[in-house]
């Protein structure tokens, strides 16, 4: 090795490790921990190629090759779950981005700090409650008997009869999207507000001199200022396209909207844990993980390209 020529690397790798043994001791147990809890489970993917029976163990179970995947891809329920996952995820992506950007733009226009803080504090609040609590609230707001939404619509004479909101599939998709907006918009807006504070104030002054009004300043200064943040977050979110919100769906679904609420995660749960079809459910989960990883890799590649072009 050419170690001799560099003062820095006179020590061998192992000597350096020895010098920093305290740091190594500190972190090493956690490296093992991460391997155990995040990498070892990948080994169980092997049962996707077997007919796993708990009594026979993983090794004792018989190999079935790609049979589980063949069954999976020929099950119409799986494709239904796939459709729902993508539709729900897409709907949530669009609505949550639009709402967060809009909220951040509006908060940025407020000059009264007390008012701004108050609204922000209120808007974060739902982020900190569990989906159990949020789902409980959604169900009572939409309840046909005493829910506020039906009461308002009826007193405004828009509807004559209370609507069973949770009983209709197409409504259900929007309920997921909008309850997600209610819960997360304040939180998601933080990143945009932070990006807005880093916009050079001189740009606004220059825009004023050029005769820009408030709306034009938003259009030509604020929006371009947060555009890199928006595009970066959008791209990175592509990796989450197969995550439609496990907890939220699990808590809000009911038998009436089964065909619209089954997503990949609940599909795995229903087949795996409830029906004990471990191998089949693992195949479904594996499919989801592999597609997600491919999406993340793709998104990171696009993000890197975009980042390079905006930095230069």
């Amino acid at each position: 090795m050419d170690a001799v020529y560099y003062n820095e690397s006179k020590k061998t790798f192992w000597q350096k490790v020895k010098d920093q043994k305290e740091l190594v001791f500190m972190i090493f147990p956690f490296v093992l921990y991460v391997i155990l809890f995040h990498y070892i489970p990948l080994w169980w993917w092997v049962i996707a190629f077997k007919e796993y029976r708990p009594f026979q163990g993983v090794w004792g179970s018989e190999w079935v090759g790609l049979q589980q995947f063949k069954d999976l891809f020929s099950d119409s329920g799986f494709w239904l779950a796939m459709r729902n996952t993508i539709v729900i995820s897409f709907l949530k992506l669009i609505t949550s981005f639009a709402a967060a950007i809009l909220l951040a733009l509006m908060l940025n226009e407020v000059k009264n700090m007390l008012f701004k803080r108050t609204i922000q504090t209120i808007s974060y609040l739902p982020h900190f409650v569990s989906w159990v609590v949020a789902a409980s609230i959604v169900i009572s707001v939409l309840s046909p008997e005493s829910g506020i939404l039906n009461q308002i619509l009826m007193s405004l004479k828009i509807i004559k009869q209370p609507i069973v909101w949770m009983g209709e599939g197409h409504y259900f998709w929007w309920i997921l999207a909008l309850s997600n907006v209610w819960k997360e918009t304040g939180w998601n807006a933080i990143v945009y507000l932070a990006a807005m504070t880093s916009i050079d104030p001189e740009l606004y002054d220059a825009a004023s001199v050029d005769g820009c009004g408030r709306l034009q300043k938003i259009r030509y200064v604020t929006l371009p200022g947060i555009a890199p943040t928006i595009s970066m977050l959008l791209i990175l979110n592509v990796g989450w396209l197969l995550n439609a919100g496990f907890e939220q769906v699990l808590l809000l679904r009911n038998p009436l909207v089964q065909d619209y609420s089954q997503i990949l995660d609940t599909y795995v749960l229903d087949y795996g844990i409830t029906m004990y079809r471990y191998s089949y459910a693992t195949a479904a989960g594996m499919f989801k993980s592999v597609v997600s990883i491919l999406l993340v890799l793709f998104a990171n590649k696009v993000a890197a390209k975009l980042n390079a072009s905006t930095v230069v």
Partner: protein, 299 residues
Amino acid sequence: MFRKKTAEDIIVDLVVYISLIFVGIVTLYPFLNVLAVSFNDALDTVRGGIYIWPRKWTLKNYEIIVSNPQIYNAALVSVARTVLGTVLGIICTMFVAYPLSRKDFVLRRPFSAIMVLTMYFGAGLIPTYLLYRSLGLLNTFWVYIVPALLGMFNVVVVRSYIESLPSSLIESAKIDGASEFRILWQIIFPLTLPAVATIALFIGVGHWNSWFDVYIFNSQRPDLSTLQYELQKILASVSMQVGRNPDYQMGAMAETQQVTPNSVRASMTIVATAPIIMVYPFLQRYFVKGLTLGSVKGE
């Protein structure tokens, strides 16, 4: 530079303020409504028309919860997992974040790759379940604590924060002969408190709010149930009845105890939410900083 407000300014202000007040009301109203229902007589609530103030005051709905040994026990388990999980979570996060923040650490790159990669993939539900089963974690309290010891997002937040401290601090401590453990806990840790407060909030809220691990791994152990899971069970019984009137189911319960599932659900919701609402104003000033550190600086 003072200038007169133009018509556009006034319209923009008007639209912005009115919309934001609307956002505030829509966000807050459901909570206030649940609070009012929880303090209102159950049979009176069924008549409808409760908004943000109870019509017939009662503590009955809360008495039902407090006198139920199962829910009382669930509250203890929730508190225990939150306190223990948060304390252990912070310690573990520091032990990982500190070495990874040291630019001169030889194993920084491989170790951080191993750690950060886990943010992007998961083996899935069934393999995780089988792992916990072979580790003997199923139907134990430890299934709440052990798998959640390290959150990579939290590590990233704390690591970025430590990196923003002057490195001369560490160097001078080393010259004075301090061990790495001592540097971490006596020098770095106190300076990192804003970031620690942020992740304490994230970890604590995560533990307090989680119900799914109870549902999947511990549903056979009523003594290890948590508040959120008890609330979920009430919710599930309501969800299955969509289309029917949830206020009248479990009629026997309503007659003997003067409560309805809706009222119990309201008071459970308040009990399950109150601790978070109480701590979060204190930690609020930290988490905005923490969040922007973790997400913006990471790019």
